[in-house]
Symmetry: D3
């Protein structure tokens, strides 16, 4: 991996060991497919066990099998990150929404205020659930799950909405805690 | 695994495949060491990829190498869960604090209001950081990290405080989203 | 009253006069029935007028005639104290819920998040009212009272729900203001 | 007591028994000294035990011996009631501040925003404590009590500040819960 | 303009030029009609361009043609100012509500808690919208506008409700930022 | 003005009269300089008195003489709009920050979380003040103004920071109230 002369986080964390073959290959694949290794991965790379656990959970959630499209999962990610004002995730996942939707305006609306978007009722309900879960998790009740079922979501779909929203409540906080900086490449992506 | 006649979550999720040898062994080890399989694991068990990712991240964070003692990590878990009023995590991790500290009162104070406990300044600062990160992640600034350094935490320690606090912000939301019920065994543990 | 070697509050308040016969007798009755004098009473005991006023209001509200059962009044007390994260009241009244319900889990759920409990609609409505009154008293409107009437509560019942919830909004703040410590006996009660 | 043709609360509560001699005398004294019986007393009068308990606690707190002047206690009452937007208490106790201070402007500032008043540092600190205790009781720590001691308050004074602020957190909620209406007489008092 | 020996704001702003004929005439008209120049105008008077812009917007909004009566516009102004605890605006516009309604109690209720007033459903809906727009502007959705239309408001009426509420969210902040003091004359007006 | 086939707001407001020569010229100047008329102006254009008042106040504040640079005023505008999650203002003024600073990243950071930017202490203090004034206007005290003076701001500078922040608290609410849509041109500007 080429030296990155810009800081990635506010913490000074030296590598505690080699990445290992599997993660080296994963980084190479990132370079090949995206043109760069996302800084969140470099931030976790000081410890390969932590990086591997993050990559495994992330990839299952955002890329694994689900009735939610990849775009929908990214929309949830960005709407949650907007509540938490997370600079890293809004930048990286805002770009993903623009790219997957081929609609730059949609990416902006998710990042600024998802209520500004003209969403179909199913997607609106998904984001309403994700945002309530973010802001007032203790107030989620059966009625909230029923609202999603009323829009045709299965119980597995509800799990997936919840899991993505919950994951970004972790990720947003991790990024804010260490002042994680997004790769500059995201900014111009799919504008 | 013996049939559990009580519901574990509000969702009806049928197993999507076999657990696989590694996770079967892990469940057996739970039974052996704890006397039961924690319900959070059973809740994820409908999908072995999701369960494995959760177990890997959890075990690294809560049991892996760190300058934070296991008790300190559990204290962070419970203080965060108290802000989020998460019934599952307060029950399961409140028990862990009681057990690891041999001080049932400490477990109660973490669950009710960590400010009631007579903590040494380092632990107080760790919990203050974890709770601010929970309530107002976007307001974390360099001064917050400096406060931790001022109490002797290394940058790696700051990562660990942040990572545990962030993980439970995910876990609390997941548990609330699906109405996860804790195993009854926790309640009487280490009282 | 035997010397208590542990501090009860963060304030150093010397007795301003004798308790008087009536309150001495009341303390004796506490010792006899509970095995101890609740620390909140010892905290007020520096001034017998203040202690008497507190005891009179408390006993009328929590033990006096009402259509609300004693358990229901304690459930309201704990749900309110959970919002206010009051260590003293969650400990003392959490124990009371466990004891009166013979259901330790119910006590825990009231203290952690009352929404986790499987309550009948009338009790759920009572706690919803009490918690709204705690969090946003200025937003209570006729519709909120009508909701309670819709679950069969009389106007006197509404008064009682309001009075218990309001009292613990006082008591929680008093306990937090002086850092009141609960008697250790509560912790193991009715587990 | 003469019939009052205006409603006092939103609840229809019939007297459960006679007031009794002591409370009748108290009402007569109110009529004599104020020219009217405060509606809060009439609201409680459906049950003489509840009324007596309220009167005893109120009179001890607001009129009993304390290093806090009666004006200071009323200032705390109004600053707390402003946070809680309590129409009854702002009207009744706003009048009391105007009257006791002979400064109508001070009454208005307490009701609208106590930070607008040019208070001496001791009074400012008292109100800051009372308002924090109202808004975020669980965040009160030793540093908050020390701030008061730094302005010359004794531990007994701290108790009194806390007790008045806590009482109005009860009273504000009771008034909002039942939609209590203040006597019209308050409005023109000491303008 | 007669010298005002009391400070009007916390800022020391010297006149940057003459008021000019038009504004001098406007001040004279204030003196004539009200008996004084409102301090908010004196506060802006250090710069005639700023003063003129403020006067033009204010007069169009509060006095210009609209289906909302002048009283209704003032009611919105005061309900918004109550949320923001703005001492200046509550004083000046509270007086306007008292005067325009010939109902001093209505002025007090708007300033303390508009929910205490017995409003017709159209006015209640207008204030509910104005207060939601004040507290959580990003949560306004089509349903909120539809609620107003359901009470007979035209789209132009909705614009006017929004414009008055929005203006006072500016004005409240300006007054708080510079600690603006209301003219004493307001206090006794229309009591 | 060429027909705009897209809706600009959620309200159906027909022109109440001609724009008049002065505003027609202003619109022409917008077309010439920007290539389009900002939708906020078209939204107000149903009533020329309202449009003129808005234009006059806006132009004085954002383009008139001030020690704050135009970039600094836009930074305040965007940081305030981020708190209020205003889609219109984040889009239009985010573009202005990108353009004036020639630093697209700075625009993104203002819109997402101004705390992510590496600002000099004076600018950081200005934005801290603007955001506090937005979130908790009633808590502004002399200490907040003193903090700005400590960074070299004159009282006139404080007025300007306050005025810009206050104006966008109006504008954000107006845009949310009517669901104002930004011109598509902003999105690609100065990326």
């Amino acid at each position: 991996m080429a030296a990155d002369c810009n800081r990635i986080t506010a913490l000074d964390l030296q590598p505690e060991g080699p990445l290992g073959e599997r993660l080296e290959a994963y980084f190479a694949k990132c370079e090949e497919k995206l043109g760069f290794v996302p800084n969140v991965l470099k931030a976790y790379a000081f410890n390969s066990a932590k990086l591997q656990a993050f990559v495994d959970m992330y990839n299952d959630l955002m890329l694994g099998p689900s009735n939610l499209s990849k775009l929908e999962r990214e929309m949830i990610a960005v709407a949650v990150s907007s509540v938490n004002h997370c600079y890293y995730c809004l930048t990286a996942h805002g770009a993903a929404v623009r790219q997957l939707s081929d609609d730059p305006e949609l990416g902006e609306m998710m990042a600024m205020n998802y209520r500004a978007a003209d969403l179909d009722p199913r997607r609106k309900a998904m984001l309403d659930f994700a945002v309530k879960l973010t802001e007032r998790p203790h107030e989620i009740e059966e009625a909230d799950r029923q609202a999603l079922r009323g829009h045709g979501l299965t119980d597995r779909d509800i799990w997936d909405v919840a899991a993505v929203a919950s994951f970004f409540n972790m990720s947003n906080r991790m990024a804010s805690a260490v002042d994680m900086r997004p790769n500059r490449e995201y900014r111009s992506l799919a504008r």
